[in-house]
């Protein structure tokens, strides 16, 4: 099979479709018109996308909380002397979970030699010199938030979580600033988040290290060890220039991110930390306080960010060489049974007043913590510490005025008076104050939330009317009215809103002109869309049309599925189990189509049959040989039913198989066994599967192409060679990764090799292959048979699927790239996705449901099902951050982000691309006009967007409804963020790639060749 060349193309044109000059002129003007319409469509879809983005922006602004930060700074309290230590060594061991530090009985069920009993120094030296406490951090458990909390004593809110990747100098009063103000020299080594937060207060001797490269286990730790050796361990007492020495080690955390806690490197890391702490203990003097703590824990996969018990529980260890420093409680408070379930806990923010009091610093102004009881050796000290903290808390309460509720204020006043009288009442005051603050910093901006929900609902209605309700032909004519009116209306409303805002400062919640312009643009787009619509139709017509559109069986099924999926967010249980529910819905869909093909129920003879029959009549006009089949009998011949049944079974089985791959949510508990684990991903059987995929994926796709004998010309090159080659080197890449992860004493440096491979794949798949696709690789072949001397009969192989076969090559390009960014098991899942996708296309082609709502809905379901089976969940810790380092070693703007986006939204991208295939798959040229094809593609894209918008809207509504729910930050909020991102990604891919760059070009090219 040789690729088709230009000469062949010309001969196709000449021999089969004889054309005259008039025809040519007609054709050219038609293409001109098509180009103009296409451009208008891009603008229309683009403006709808902008409207949705604005809606999401408003909602996120109102819902994702922020806390007002006071810049007041505490002053030293006069005439009061306190502070037991001159100097202090602080060692932060990132992700030092509490159970790492206590002795665990090797015979107990939860014992794991990789991470238990490796750090004996913290517990064994538990005598009068030291105290070990369970250290409860506040969510979100990300390092930046924890450092802020640990130094200010306050509660960083969720919105800060987003700025983990660009920390900036902290403005609030904090411990490090107080040290600096009290003329203490602070030396620091380790995680560069500190450098970003506290840069002005640290000594220039400090050595920060790059922190977010989770694949690098040793650089930071060795740096910290060297720094400490130089300034503490190997330096004489007198030559120590620091007052406070801070180290932040990342090894344990990075091992967790890279391998999970259950890995031998974890043991190595912990032993290293243990030895290091022993060295420090030996080196410090009597006046030095040693504090070792973890800023957060890690879950069973080694990730963190949420508020699971494992993620919240860290360890805190205080050590001093001076005897009788600590006032330990009775030993039953420190029981290590059952991994220390009942061990005494302190809040993470409690460290702030404790350390300030121990070092004789003023307590930071915003502190909400309470001194740890153990630090006060005598009753007098306890009294003093309590009073100092009470003064600070009360000052903060009065100055900030955070508590506006009079009842609460009254309560607090009462407690405050009581607390002044007896030390036992102090913690009660602090607890109530802390709780009230926690409640308050969940303060939402309801105006923005309402604006976001309203805008999104209106955008949903507009999408519905434009892409679904109004007949696509009419929209094709209306598009030239939409665009100017949208532009004009946006300009007008921008002028009006900004004018009103600047003069009257209304509406107040907008705050600045940026938000004002955004709202104005959104209103402009809405009005601009409404003018042409209501010029021709009215609300009653739209309502009737809506009911009419839902009158057929398949649309109703689709609407039911959308509704069910949207209703999942009404309960935390359903949201938790979304992965299983979505795959069940997709399987049910497969069952329904199977039922359809087996039993051929009555409804076939109604709408679908009629349209099918009409389509067939039109179709036979083209004179293609392959198209006459089946037109003499009922719409579904026996063969078609057999094929349809086969595809339904493929869909069902693939869905079930894929749904076995799961990374369980922590809330799913015992009912779910994770299969997407690091061990499985690096295992031999998984790599063998990946190896088999090199052959399987191309041959499966080839099978689908061969249905219409489209495996011609460009297809063998693309699928048989490009795809195979990319899959092969992709396999090499992941094998190397697995080798690195499983062989501890592998000394080869594979970094360069891996980077080379990954860059080759991305270069080929995203750049080279797409440029190649733009050249227009046809999947047809001219088959010229000489039956006799006189007539030459020519058959075009692959004629029926010219559009689809070529378009799918584009999908393959992105598929190759997504494969690279997916871990081995996810690649298996993506292989299944390929089959599911093509089967869905075949099924809806056979059922003649190309324009029905069910097609996009099933594709949307497929995207969600695959999102879950490629090792994701709608939670923050399950984001596979490590794939960000496939292309580069350090965080570099587009490449790291590209990897994470491709990994997380891979299935959504594939589906958003292939949604056009619902129209194009098995669409022979010459049946539909280019404009009609385009409008149908836009209509299908619109329906996919409707599906995603409904889900997003549902999460908006329900996350607002559950805003005080216990689980809101853990379940509903991540789901809302995920739904918004899904909508954004789908919108972008559909508008920029599917509609703007690929469909238009493809339709023009095919019509250029096969026009009549």
């Amino acid at each position: 099979m040789e690729p088709i060349n230009a000469a062949d193309e010309m001969s196709v044109k000449k021999s089969i479709l004889n054309s005259s000059i008039e025809d040519r002129r007609l054709f050219r003007s038609r293409i001109q018109r098509f180009k103009a319409t296409h451009r208008l469509y891009i603008v229309l879809m683009g403006s709808l996308a902008v409207l949705q983005f604005i809606a999401i922006a408003f909602f996120a602004r109102g819902f994702l909380l922020s806390r007002s930060v006071l810049e007041d700074i505490s002053k030293p309290v006069e005439d009061v002397q306190y502070g037991k230590f001159e100097k202090c060594v602080i060692l932060v061991v990132d992700a030092l979970r509490f159970d790492f530090t206590i002795p665990v009985d090797p015979s107990s069920k939860s014992y794991n030699p990789n991470y238990h009993n490796n750090m004996p120094v913290l517990f064994d030296s538990k005598d009068e010199h030291s105290i070990l406490l369970k250290f409860i951090s506040d969510p979100p458990t990300t390092t930046l938030q924890r450092l802020k909390g640990l130094t200010t004593g306050s509660l960083p809110t969720f919105i800060d979580a987003g700025s983990n990747f660009n920390g900036e100098v902290i403005e609030e009063d904090n411990m490090i600033k107080q040290m600096y103000l009290q003329n203490k020299t602070v030396f620091f080594a380790g995680d560069d988040t500190w450098d970003k937060l506290f840069q002005p207060f640290l000594s220039p001797m400090s050595v920060p290290y790059e922190s977010l490269n989770v694949w690098d286990l040793d650089t930071v730790d060795n740096g910290v060890v060297n720094f400490f050796e130089e300034h503490l361990i190997n330096s004489a007492q007198s030559s120590r220039e620091w007052d406070v020495l801070i180290g932040h080690m990342l090894g344990v955390d990075h091992v967790g991110h890279k391998y999970g806690p259950n890995h031998f490197t974890m043991k190595e890391k912990q032993l290293q930390v243990n030895a290091f702490i022993e060295d420090i203990v030996n080196a410090i003097d009597d006046d030095t306080l040693l504090v070792v703590f973890g800023d957060h824990g890690m879950d069973h996969t080694g990730n963190h960010g949420g508020d699971a018990k494992d993620e919240l529980e860290a360890a805190l260890w205080l050590y001093s060489k001076r005897p009788k420093t600590w006032n330990t409680l009775p030993s039953n408070f420190y029981s290590v049974d059952n991994l220390g379930v009942d061990y005494r806990e302190v809040n993470q923010i409690d460290l702030v007043p404790s350390l300030s009091l121990l070092l004789g610093l003023p307590i930071p102004f915003n502190n909400l913590g309470w001194p740890i009881q153990e630090i006060s050796g005598t009753v007098e000290e306890l009294m003093q510490y309590n009073n100092l903290t009470l003064q600070q808390l009360d000052l903060y309460r009065r100055v900030s005025g955070v508590i506006t509720n009079p009842d609460k204020n009254h309560n607090l006043d009462d407690l405050w008076v009581k607390a002044l009288r007896s030390t036992a009442e102090g913690p009660n005051f602090q607890k109530l104050f802390l709780e009230s603050c926690k409640d308050l910093w969940a303060r939402f901006d309801y105006w923005s939330i309402a604006t976001g929900i309203t805008l999104l609902s209106i955008s949903l209605l507009l999408l519905l009317s434009i892409t679904k309700l109004i007949p696509s032909i009419v929209v094709g004519q209306m598009v030239s009215e939409f665009v100017p009116s949208i532009i004009v209306m946006s300009l007008i409303s921008n002028v009006c809103f900004n004018g009103i805002f600047h003069v009257l400062h209304q509406p107040e919640f907008l705050e600045n002109w940026v938000w004002c312009s955004l709202l104005a643009t959104a209103v402009g787009i809405i009005v601009g869309c409404c003018i042409p619509i209501f010029d021709r139709y009215n609300l009653a017509w739209i309502a009737i049309k809506f009911a009419e559109d839902l009158s057929d069986y398949w649309s109703r099924i689709a609407a039911l599925f959308i509704t069910l999926h949207a209703l999942l967010f009404t309960s935390n249980s359903f949201t938790i189990w979304e992965d299983k529910i979505v795959s069940m819905l997709l399987t049910s869909l497969g069952m329904l189509t199977l039922y359809e093909f087996v039993f051929l129920p009555k409804r076939q003879s109604t709408t679908a049959l009629m349209t099918a029959a009409m389509g067939q009549k039109q179709g036979t006009l083209s004179g293609s040989p392959a198209f006459s089949a089946g037109s003499d009998s009922a719409p579904l011949g026996r063969f078609a039913r057999l094929v349809g049944g086969y595809h339904s079974i493929v869909l069902i089985v693939c869905t079930r198989l894929a749904s076995m791959i799961t990374i369980c949510r922590e809330e799913q508990g015992d009912s779910c066994t994770p299969t997407f684990t690091t061990a499985n991903n690096n295992s031999v059987w998984c790599l063998v599967l990946c190896f088999l995929l090199i052959g399987f994926i191309p041959s499966c796709i080839k099978g689908y192409y061969n249905v219409c004998s489209s495996y011609q010309a460009a297809a063998p090159i693309w699928i048989g060679q490009f795809l195979k080659f990319v899959l092969l080197i992709n396999f090499v890449f992941w094998t190397l990764t697995a080798l690195e992860n499983t062989m501890p004493d592998l000394n080869w440096d594979l970094k360069i090799l891996k980077l080379t491979i990954s860059r080759i794949i991305v270069g080929i798949s995203l750049i080279a292959a797409n440029v190649g696709w733009m050249m227009g690789p046809l999947c047809v072949k001219l088959n010229i048979q000489n039956n006799d001397m006189k007539s030459q009969q020519a058959t075009i192989l692959g004629y029926t699927n010219v559009y689809g076969a070529q378009y799918f090559l584009l999908v393959i390009n992105f598929f190759m790239c997504i494969m690279l960014f997916s871990k081995p098991l996810a690649q298996v899942s993506l292989f299944l996705m390929c089959n599911q996708l093509l089967s869905i296309l075949e099924i809806f082609d056979l059922l003649k449901l190309k324009d029905n709502l069910i097609g996009p809905v099933s594709m949307g379901l497929l995207a969600y099902q695959q999102f879950f089976s490629t090792g994701h969940q709608a939670t923050i810790p399950s984001v596979q951050w490590d794939v960000g380092f496939i292309l580069t070693e350090k965080i570099t703007f587009p490449f790291t982000h590209l990897g994470i986006v491709m990994n997380t939204f891979g299935p959504h991208i594939i589906v958003a691309l292939s949604i056009a295939l619902l129209t194009l798959w098995k669409q022979p040229p010459g049946v539909l006009k280019p404009q009609t094809l385009l409008t149908r593609i836009v209509s299908n894209c619109g329906m996919l967007l409707i599906y995603n918008t409904v889900l997003c809207l549902s999460t908006f509504v329900w996350v607002t409804h559950f805003r005080r729910h216990l689980m809101v930050w853990k379940i509903f909020c991540p789901r809302f963020i995920f739904a918004s991102l899904c909508l954004i990604v789908t919108q972008l891919v559909i508008t920029v790639i599917t509609i703007a760059s690929s469909s238009g070009r493809l339709i023009r090219q095919i019509n250029d060749i096969f026009w009549k």
């Binding site: 529910i581 069940m584 009998s633």
Partner: protein
């Protein structure tokens, strides 16, 4: 693919309830009297079709039996379903204007068929998301419940010339009952009746209870 035309088949297996479509295809558009070759098969709309025995069974299952013993329930179900078939369902099934007498041999054949049907049924349940390796026994019992709930329909299919098209709605109603009852599975109420497969079994019973009388109207 041309449809193979047979000359006047005596009895046909029809998977479709779209009679007109099939008939026009078979008879090639000629109008023919249909009563002899295609005797009308339907289920009468009487109170007889209501499977009253399912309610006390369910009541016993939920209230009286300890630990929701699904296996025991199955033991009660099979004889009661047979009685229901003999005295109620068969009497309301009309085949060519008359009610067929009960055929005891067929009764056992269809019992075996129902038993055999549990395997594809089980495969279907697993495909829809039941655990693949664990709890297989429970899944099988669930499949058995579904199949024996459909037992009267299975018998009637045998008895009435394999008119699957007429009786498939009975199977569908049971499946629908199961499908809908899945709703309670993920809820975090921590009740002991949420254990697999108890809610689905109850759903199947309710589906059958609603389905048997309702399907004669559809």
């Amino acid at each position: 693919m041309p449809v193979k035309r047979r000359s006047m088949p005596k009895k046909t297996v029809s998977f479709s309830d779209d009679e007109t479509l099939i008939r026009t295809r078979q008879l090639n558009g000629k109008k023919m009297p249909v009563d002899h070759y295609n005797p009308p098969v339907y289920v009468r709309k009487t109170l007889l079709t209501v499977p009253f025995h399912l309610l006390p069974l369910l009541y016993h299952f939920i209230k009286c039996s300890d630990n929701y013993d699904v296996a025991k329930l199955l033991c009660f179900l099979i004889p009661l379903q047979s009685l229901y078939l003999i005295f109620q369902f068969n009497r309301s099934t009309v085949y060519g204007n008359k009610i067929l007498k009960i055929h005891f041999g067929l009764l056992f054949i269809s019992l075996a068929a129902s038993l055999l049907l549990t395997l594809p049924c089980m495969a279907m349940i697993i495909l829809l998301g039941a655990p693949m390796t664990q709890l297989l026994k429970e899944t099988w019992i669930l499949a058995a419940h579904c199949c024996f709930l459909a037992y009267p329909a299975v018998y009637s299919v045998f008895n009435c010339d394999f008119k699957v098209g007429i009786f498939k709605k009975y199977f569908v109603s049971i499946a629908l009952g199961c499908w809908i009852s899945c709703v309670v599975l993920p809820l975090d109420w921590d009740r002991d009746w949420q254990e697999w497969p108890i809610p689905i079994v109850v759903g199947a019973y309710l589906g059958a209870f609603v389905g048997y009388p309702a399907c004669s109207y559809i």
